[in-house]
């Protein structure tokens, strides 16, 4: 287990990140990721764990493969991921009686409770990252971001050697 050590001298935001929208988006996402990761340590879970918990709860994937697709990750990764959640008592696998190849993943009540706390932490971190915006601006930003997110699709694409 590690924690963030003494900070190096903080550097003002480079101009480059404020000049192009693409770089800004990546920057804000990374900032949220890193601070969120750090804040979630208090609950003993990673950012990836939190994402999995949130997707399992909200979207109820009908198999691990569907969960993997929703998360945009390789199916193999989800095996270890769910193993961890299961060991931690946060999630459980149940063989689908209608198709015994599938494992339906669901949260335990402990998992649901932890998710609530993780959601609260994520909200705090998001508020901190967007500290500079007024309440009105924050609302507008949230709506616009939701619109942008909603109209995208996730897909897991495999790397393939070029011929």
């Amino acid at each position: 287990m590690t924690t963030r050590g003494p900070a190096e001298a903080p550097v003002p935001m480079p101009k480059a990140f404020a000049s192009r929208l693409g770089l800004m988006l990546v920057r804000v996402g990374d900032e949220m990721s890193q601070r969120g990761q750090q804040a979630l340590e208090e609950l003993g879970i990673s950012g990836r764990d939190y994402t999995a918990l949130a997707v399992i709860a909200a979207d109820q994937p009908r198999s691990q493969l569907e969960l993997a697709r929703m998360m945009g990750k390789a199916p193999a990764l989800c095996v270890a991921l769910i193993d961890e959640l299961e060991t931690a008592g946060l999630a459980q696998r149940v063989r689908d009686p209608e198709d015994r190849r599938r494992s339906i993943v669901s949260l335990t009540s402990a998992g649901e409770q932890l998710l609530e706390r993780a959601d609260a932490i994520a909200d705090e971190v998001a508020a901190a990252v967007l500290d500079g915006l007024s309440a009105d601006e924050l609302g507008a930003f949230r709506d616009l971001t939701r619109r942008a997110v909603t109209e995208t699709t996730t897909e897991y694409q495999a790397d393939v050697a070029r011929t």
Copy 2:
């Protein structure tokens, strides 16, 4: 060299990603990152290379260490990164005559030209990611994001073992 292979069945955006602002920010950032990475392959550079080029051009760091801090990465990483850019003829190191410990990194004219093309690609990708927004909304979103980014600071924090 690899490229993105045939897509798996694209899955609709999970509800979980549209429910909390923190998850949305990470999601949009990742989407931009991945699509940008893919689009930049055409220029033979990675997303990280593009970030470095943009920071070097816009912020003119006075040493590799300052560049590392601006990028939020470990100094060791920047050695290999700049080696690559130098080998590709995109950047060059010059020993600072006033402090010969420092290497001042700057773009070659080839680097500047490539950066212009990369900027254009990044703009295209950003527009595609935010496809669902109208022109007005896009403008508002850009301003709000810039405000959010500008008031943050970058810092590289080392991992430290907990005692």
